[in-house]
């Protein structure tokens, strides 16, 4: 399957799967470890990928949330993300996609401007989170947030759907003046 679809399989029992897409393998691995350390009522599964499309021959569960990790220090990371976005089905963007920008803490290493990622997230109507994944404390907090988001996207929180969450997250991100 060259295009990732949100509801292509039946969900596993009490399972929630998250897919982290990004070029920084070490950071993704660390983030995955942090997430798995969180105690959560549902069973968590974390998949890592450098880019989409994913190899077709692997048997994987239904993906509930995709997080695109963009490293602000590398242009390649952004390019990779943009290309991978083309392999995601439209219906994923109803709250099951999230952008995570890392490396904003070190201003002098940032090649990609903040506004670029903000615009990208705005174009795809998805939430954008900032986190320096290299810092242990920030990473742990972000892992917590992602676990909560994942639970909602997998439908494990009764009464809140991924789309609801999206609308809730929207109000805190006002579109920048340039986009108006």
């Amino acid at each position: 399957m060259s295009v990732l679809r949100p509801l292509d399989k039946l969900p596993g029992l009490n399972t929630a799967t998250i897919l982290l897409v990004g070029t920084e393998d070490a950071l993704l691995q660390q983030l995955a470890d942090s997430m798995l350390k969180e105690d959560c009522a549902s069973e968590l599964k974390v998949h890592l990928a450098r880019s989409l499309p994913l190899p077709a021959n692997v048997n994987r569960p239904r993906i509930d949330l995709i997080v695109f990790v963009v490293n602000l220090h590398s242009k390649y990371s952004l390019q990779n993300t943009e290309e991978s976005l083309h392999h995601v089905d439209t219906s994923f963007f109803l709250g099951k996609v999230c952008f995570l920008a890392t490396g904003a803490g070190q201003e002098n290493h940032c090649i990609i401007h903040r506004h670029t990622v903000v615009k990208l997230a705005h174009t795809y109507r998805s939430p954008l989170l900032f986190c320096d994944l290299e810092v242990e404390g920030f990473r742990a907090t972000m892992a917590q947030r992602l676990v909560r988001m994942l639970q909602i996207c997998a439908g494990h929180m009764p009464g809140v759907s991924a789309l609801n969450l999206l609308s809730l997250l929207r109000s805190s991100e006002s579109p920048s003046v340039e986009d108006l």
């Binding site: 292509d8 439209t90 963007f93 174009t123 795809y124 439908g155 494990h156």
Partner: protein
Amino acid sequence: VNQQDLDPDSTTDVGDITDTEEELVKKCEEIWKDMEEYQNKLSLTGTKTLTDSNAQLSLLIMQVKCLTAELRQWQKETPEIIPLTEDVLVTLAKEEFQKLRHDLETVLSTIQLKNEKLKEDLEREQQWLNEQQQIMDSLNVLHNELKNKVMPFSESRIFNELKTKMLNIREYKEKLLITLGEFLEDHFPLPDDGNVKKKKKNIQAPTAQLITLHEMLEILINRLFDVPHDPYVKISDSFWPPYIELLLRNGIALRHPEDPTQIRLEAFHQ
């Protein structure tokens, strides 16, 4: 689209009462069958991807449609609850109470810690207060003592101090004058009258009796302090001219600006 909201919440873990369990399991299976149905329907719909240009618009439209559908679904359906048999109620109640107990225990330990800390703080502050009180007391005592001492002594003491000062200064002045007189005698004596008359017949021989430099200075000093607005002294014949020159050249005396026959002492004290 939103059947995942109806996903069986797997926390319905009802102990060992079989009929309630069986009922629930049956319900779950029904829901699962529905899900499979919907899943099949979904797999028939095609996939669509986005490009950057059409992303915003199409996503917004899609979100509107989905939100409206979700809204309608929520308005339509009534919430289903699990059958509230006695066993279920008991289990649920147990769970609730355990949670409550756990929370209360946490609160209790927090409050206890806070209490202890407050006690420590109170003790510390009390100690500090005591120390401050002691300091205050000793300062008060000191203050009273000093207050009593100052009054009676001040007047007589100052008077005595001034008197001693005056005496010292007067003594010093006498000493200075004596030293000055000796110095002047040694280094600036009057010209020997006998010598002048014997050696040459000076037309300008002093007719008046010459006074010593010391006396000259005395006159100048006295004049300066007696009549400060007119400290000028007329040069008389008793002043030996070379000494006048000496005083003038060294800036000790000054001529009157309009009258060359008057001199005054330079006001070193002003």
